[in-house]
Amino acid sequence: MTHSNRTGRRARRAGTLAAATCLALLACTVDHGLEPIRSKISGRVFFAGDANPDITDEVRVAVLKKFPPKDITELTFSEIIFGNSDQPPDTVPWEIYLEPGSYEIAAVIWKAHNQSWNISDIIGMWGGQFIGDQLIPPFPFVPIELKNSRSVVDTIDIRANLNRVNRDGLIEGTLTFTGEWPANTGVVGIGAFSEIPKSGDVFDYLLKNIALDYSVPTFTGSASYRLRVRSTETIKYVALMWINNAFDFGGIRDIGFYRNPANPSQPGSVNLAGKHVTGIDIRVDFAAAFGGGT
């Protein structure tokens, strides 16, 4: 057999093998990895109240599988439904494409200029109701179910009240810390409340607050703060909330509050008639606050 014959036969074999391989590949179902999500939750947001474009960055709908979230990354956000234009339209459609599953919360969240998302700035919740500007959440939650990859739930209409974040007033003061900061301190927030929240009740903290800011410096002896609030609100309670470094919402607790100058054992209310109130000082004694441990 000549060399050229052998070479030709090998070439034919190689060609046949290559063709067979190509056919086998074509016959296979090709895995394309990620694919579009076709199941979704959608509805409309009905706005009420007045927006404050000076401090508003954006508003979105967020959904959550299980409340409370461990952190902000557990929220899935919609596109922006309202930016920092003067006032929103009365109603805006929204949609979020989501994997099949059960979603406990759908809420409208407001974000301030130059601030991170603050999940206490909820201005509306699916199934929630407003009494005045106060949001009353549904209880128990009615989960939104996306049963399969084609499920569409398009009836999730939410009422949102922008008055909750129309913050034209300001309170400020100093914070004084005595004793040892707990080593497992995560964040400390300062909040102004329309009613005294039940200690450890996350909903009360999130929904009865007029404003809540979690950027209080930690592991320091003293600090000053400025908290934007709505001037028409009646502030009955200004307090510091502590959360551990596992960011466990269930462990939220008050560690100090603004006291009534006339009766220091009781919380002091704040009159915002002048829109700018100073001297709302709070002292924290860690030994007293954590007498029972962290």
């Binding site: 895995d31 579009p36 964040v187």
Partner: protein, 736 residues
């Protein structure tokens, strides 16, 4: 008298200057005494020619005399000359990638010229090439005490490499998350490659940036690369900070003796996504690349110039790229064997700032507010290296380097001048001394200054001073024991200082030819970057806050491995490893979305990696496969470290039919278990199939490839789609 800034950052006057003079005097006394102790009275010259089995000259072969620092590289005619060889008998070792190492013992040298002809047989695989990174001096790959993988320029060309990451990512134990390289699970993902735990060297000189502590893979033209050495496991005992996961050394080509021109022109197109609803433009998306290198020597002076131009529309919206690289290299050989090498490279890259997708149903589009984002990056790298062999057993190397990197408008077209150039001038003196033929002592001092500034983290200046020493003891041809360490003093002037000692001990045992066992144990560390300490920014809705108290992170690592040749046709490698990390720096996100870098993580990564390579049917068919399994645990959070796959593997089949070469490569990495920003987003394993073909005709090679042939859609970090299917064609020429 002029006041100097001394190493502790304080100002000192005459007293400190006198101390400096005494230090220099002692150093020179040591150098001269070492030179005297190892000097020889009589010397000769050894020259010869290296050829392959068919008698063709082999350029680029490494020639060295065992037990000395003397050596040479064969030229384009295969000739080599080693001068100042001590009279007596010597052992000549000749090695080259792709060929079997040749050892010629008992060569007599007595003043006059001695001619030696060396014939090298082709090795079934890559042979036993010389490597220079694991021990900071030349040694055979099989004698290295750490796990080293070498990728030669030929392999880069075969792979039709567009980016260095493509070739390096196919090495077992190496994984890329976009441009973030992780060796054995050392790194996850950080934006802009901040705080790399893998050190990138060019010719042994660090290219880690002064501000971000990151590495830039586009820093030099691709055709400049002669080979890539990847050292796995901490390299801090010789290289200090950033080498805690490993070291990657890009070794640039030597200038040719005769005029040599290399050219490559490549053009390609992107396919549509697999899902029609994801298609976002009617334009045909494409990319182009041109690389050129010209090299020539004029007597003792060798010159080389390189240029790269790459443009791309990208496969996503706002994903365009426009890259320029230029480089120049000069090698000057002096009488007496000393040599000066100068290398300079400049790059400018401008690309769109695709941070995250609009939504999973529009994953190739950006949100409206990111449409104008752009990232511009410029870098200048310069280094000079002077090799001074004082005696056959004592030599000095002096290195001076300067790296300037500049971030342009970082994601905000509205904020020009946000970053100042980061500047990193450095210098190093290294001594190689063979006090006895079986000992190779490598010692030196490295100094680097880092200057950086940005409106995001302020202006900062620091320096690192680092003496190091290592002894490689080879009592016979089979054993090598390596021990050494490096002390790093890192000072952020006016702010903080830290000291770190990184020891290392390694054992290499070669019971017979083709078998090598390795055992290594050592420490590594990484200094916190000014970015991680001082950053204040709003990043994609997340508020990043500073942590001035951030400390360096440190680790201990150990590995044990075996490499075994299988006859003439194959090789197997198996390595087990474990690394423990303390104070690992990680971005910690609180429930509000505030991010702060903290010394939060206590981690352990253990695993096993294996590689096998075979050639059969008269070397016409080849199969290479590797796999790595690792358990990257965050011991504090009790979960996997973020962005680390547990398993990854690459299988490559090759066929060489005369001038035609065909390759198919499949890469798999399992689904990443932990991510940091959007844990609820769907994630899938990585499955990439690639086909390559090439046909060679003389100096010309025509190549074609299909990347991501299955058009598989995946994300390595959240909300950024991996590259979709593309096809390209390239023409290469190598004319001498």
């Amino acid at each position: 008298m002029k006041t100097k800034i001394a190493f502790d950052g304080k100002r000192h006057g005459a007293g400190r200057t006198a101390a400096g003079f005494r230090l220099r005097s002692v150093l020179w006394a040591l150098v001269l005494s070492a030179a005297w102790m190892t000097a020889s009275a009589q010397a000769g010259t050894l020259s010869g020619t290296v050829k392959d089995a068919s008698g063709r000259p082999l350029p680029g072969a490494n020639v060295f005399l065992r037990g000395t620092l003397l050596g040479a590289v064969s030229g384009s005619d295969g000739n080599f000359t080693v001068q100042d060889v001590p009279d007596g008998t010597c052992t000549l070792v000749v090695s080259m990638m792709g060929f079997r190492t040749v050892v010629k013992s008992g060569l007599a040298v007595s003043g006059a010229m001695t001619d030696v002809d060396v014939r090298m047989d082709e090795a079934p695989l890559s042979g036993d090439p010389v490597v220079v990174t694991a021990s900071k001096h030349a040694e055979a790959l099989s004698a290295a005490h750490q796990s080293v993988t070498v990728i030669g320029a030929e392999r880069l060309a075969e792979r039709q490499t567009r980016r260095l990451e493509e070739a390096i990512g196919a090495v077992p134990g190496v994984h890329f998350n976009e441009e973030n390289v992780s060796i054995r699970g050392s790194s996850g993902y950080s934006v802009f490659n901040v705080g790399s735990r893998v050190l990138l060297l060019v010719d042994g000189v660090s290219t880690v940036t002064s501000d971000l502590g990151g590495i830039n893979w586009k820093i030099l033209p691709l055709l400049d690369v002669e080979r890539i050495e990847i050292v796995k496991g901490a390299g801090s005992a010789l290289y200090g900070s950033s080498a805690m996961g490993g070291v990657i050394n890009l070794i640039t080509r030597e200038p040719s003796r005769r005029l040599r021109v290399r050219l490559r022109a490549l053009a390609g197109v992107y396919d549509d996504p697999a899902w029609p609803e994801w298609k976002w433009t009617e334009r045909r998306l494409h990319f182009e690349r041109t690389d050129m290198s010209v090299s020539r020597s004029f007597g003792p002076v060798g010159l080389q110039f390189g240029v790269t131009r790459h443009t791309s529309t990208g496969y996503m919206e706002n994903n365009e790229a426009d890259l320029w690289n230029v480089s120049a290299k000069a090698g000057i050989r002096f009488r007496g064997g000393s040599r000066l090498d100068l290398y300079a490279a400049r790059m400018r890259n401008r690309e769109g700032g695709f941070i995250q997708w609009l939504s999973q149903n529009r994953p190739l589009e950006v949100p409206p507010y990111n449409k104008e984002d752009a990232i511009e990056y410029r870098a200048t790298d310069f280094h000079a290296q002077y090799h001074l062999p004082l005696t056959p057993r004592f030599g000095l190397k002096a290195r001076a380097s300067f790296l300037q990197t500049e971030m342009g408008n970082q994601l905000t077209a509205y904020n020009p001048g946000a970053f100042k150039p980061g500047r990193g001038p450095g210098m190093e003196i290294q001594a190689d001394w063979l006090p006895l033929p079986e000992h190779h002592v490598t010692s030196g001092v490295e100094y680097r200054r880092d200057l950086s500034g940005s409106q995001y983290f302020g202006d900062h200046e620091g320096y690192t001073l680092s003496p190091y020493v290592q002894d490689a003891w080879s009592p016979d041809g089979r054993w090598t024991v390596t021990a050494g360490g490096r002390w790093d003093r890192h000072v952020l002037i006016g702010e903080a200082s830290e000291n770190r000692l990184s020891p290392k001990i390694g054992l290499n045992f070669r019971p017979r030819e083709g078998t090598a066992l390795r055992l290594t144990f050592g420490g590594g560390f990484r200094t916190a970057t000014v970015f991680e300490k001082y950053i204040t920014a709003d990043y994609s809705g997340f508020n990043v806050i500073p942590n001035p108290g951030l400390r360096s992170e440190h680790s201990w690592f150990s590995d044990a491995g075996i490499s075994q040749d299988i006859g003439n046709a194959g090789r197997l490698e198996l390595t087990m490893f474990r690394s423990d990390y303390w104070d690992m720096i990680d971005p910690v996100i609180n429930f509000l979305g505030t991010i702060q870098f903290q010394n939060f993580v206590r981690a352990r990564v253990s695993g096993i990696e294996g590689a096998a390579e075979f050639r059969f049917w008269r070397r016409r068919l080849g199969l290479a496969a590797n796999a790595a399994w690792q358990n990257p645990r965050d011991l504090k959070r009790k979960e996997d470290l973020a962005y680390r796959p547990r398993f990854n593997s690459t299988v490559t089949g090759k066929a060489f039919l005369g001038p035609l070469s065909l390759e198919a490569e499949y890469r798999y990495a399992d689904r990443i278990r932990t991510v940091q920003l959007n844990p609820l987003d769907p994630r899938v394993p990585l499955k990439l199939l690639e086909f390559r073909a090439g046909v060679k005709a003389g100096a010309w090679t025509l190549q074609a490839s299909v990347r991501n042939a299955l058009n598989y859609h995946y994300t390595q970090i959240e909300r950024r789609m991996g590259e979709i299917r593309s096809a390209s064609i390239s023409l290469m020429a190598d004319i001498e």
